[in-house]
């Protein structure tokens, strides 16, 4: 039996999951999925910034477009250090595709016109 606090939404349900993956304490279905992932392959969305060449701003906010393995968070940060982006950029533009061979992309989360 493992006790977890669900991080899917701000409610923060107190979950319990047993050896045969039965989940209790969740108020919605997403809590069940979260608990199963958390004990098998925990994932997180990584958000950060990369260098930006623009008239108004110095940093471009970015994130993984899907949650990535928790163990890869610091490797993602190392990859982001290598990147420099020139304006214009649109929110949603892919900044790094298939990062670390995970099939997950790094996308811009802000539109910079100039």
């Amino acid at each position: 039996m493992t006790k977890l606090i669900c991080i899917v939404c701000p409610k923060g349900c107190h979950l319990e999951i047993d050896e045969s993956f039965n989940v209790t304490g969740n108020f919605c279905k997403r809590g069940e999925v979260y608990a199963k992932n958390e004990v098998t392959n925990p994932t997180r969305t990584v958000t950060s910034t990369v260098k930006l060449n623009s008239k108004i701003l110095k940093m471009l906010p970015v994130r993984t477009d899907k949650p990535i393995a928790k163990s890869k968070m610091f490797d993602v940060m190392e990859e982001l250090k290598k990147v420099e982006v020139n304006a214009p950029v649109n929110s949603g533009d892919i900044i790094i595709s298939n990062i670390l061979g995970t099939n997950i992309n790094i996308i811009a989360t802000r539109t910079i016109k100039e």
Partner: protein
Amino acid sequence: MLNYDLVIIGGGSAGIASAIGAYDNGLRSILVLEKEAYLGGILNQCIHNGFGLHLFNEELSGPEYAERFANELIKRNIEYRLETMVLKINKDLTMVCSSVNGCEIIKAKAIICATGCTERTRGAIATQGDRPSGVMTAGLAQRYLNIEGYLVGKKVFILGSGDIGLIMARRMTLEGAKVLGVAELMPYSNGLSRNIVQCLQDFNIPLYLSHTVKRIIGKNRLEKIVICEVDNKNNFVLNTEKEFEVDTLLLSVGLIPNNPLLANLGVKMHPRTKGPIVDDNYETSVPGIFACGNGLHVHDLVDFVTNEGIYVGKKVSEYIKNGKLASEKYVTIEAGNGISYVLPSKFAIDKGVAEIKFRVTKPHQKSHINVIYNGEILKSIKKQYLLPAEMEDIKFDISKLDCGNIVLEVIDD
């Protein structure tokens, strides 16, 4: 002098939402004033995800959420001005504004104050010790890092378990800083549970509950802090000091609505929320001046700010169309046992249903929220848990009531 039906002070999430609410209810003469060079307010530095879960069922970053609503504003051709700061509001609803055009007077039929909140500082909690550099609020460190691109320190301690502090613990760790711990004065965390998990536990950052910073030590730059356990009266407990060698202390010790404009005008302020006292239309004690968002009371989630802004925008457009909104008969709403504050402070009976937002003073397990009207229980709802960090709301029928007093209270089962 420029004339508009509605001027909105602040182009953040509350200001944008109220402009959209007013426009979609038929108002056209609207101007939004924003002091920064871009719309979106504080969301622009909140690059973490989790915004928009309630409204879009998506986990957007702050800038993404801001951009969705800024685009809605632009799509409607609602006028806005950037790098424009309101210096003064007068009782006749004229405003003195400063911008690259110099000083201008703008007159409105109604004003919405959506001026957001500010962070409490070291002065507000009176921490003793030296005054070196390296002690700052968590939100300031967030701005330096996410907007300006500077990491403010390498060895960090955080005082206060508010969400911004927790978010910055993770953010600075990912950027290569070592976060040695978070101290929280209360015996429970003030942040969302999900942030305790994904910002502290994920990175093995210890959380010291019932602890605070006793002393700040450093000649030029911060060198060391001493934390200490506190008892239930917030007094230091003897021989519980722990020292941490750090170059940075971030403070995440609460937010206060930012209302110098309204305070100078003599608008009545709420002793608990520190924002203006408002009625059921979110109108302040000065006719024609409305408030919403974190400038009114600090919200937990931006989704709630957006909803409140849209509601207030709609009400203000009715106010402008009809010249007034006030009703004849009201019930007053008060915070009773275990309730920190209620908002709004009165509700018109002809609205039929009252919708009240409130916070509790301390955590509760199984309990009931009672709505008491002139001494009798009008409604009672069961709660599995209640936390001061989470704003609650309650709806109840007031159509059959006469003028009188409603008190909200929380009773443990």
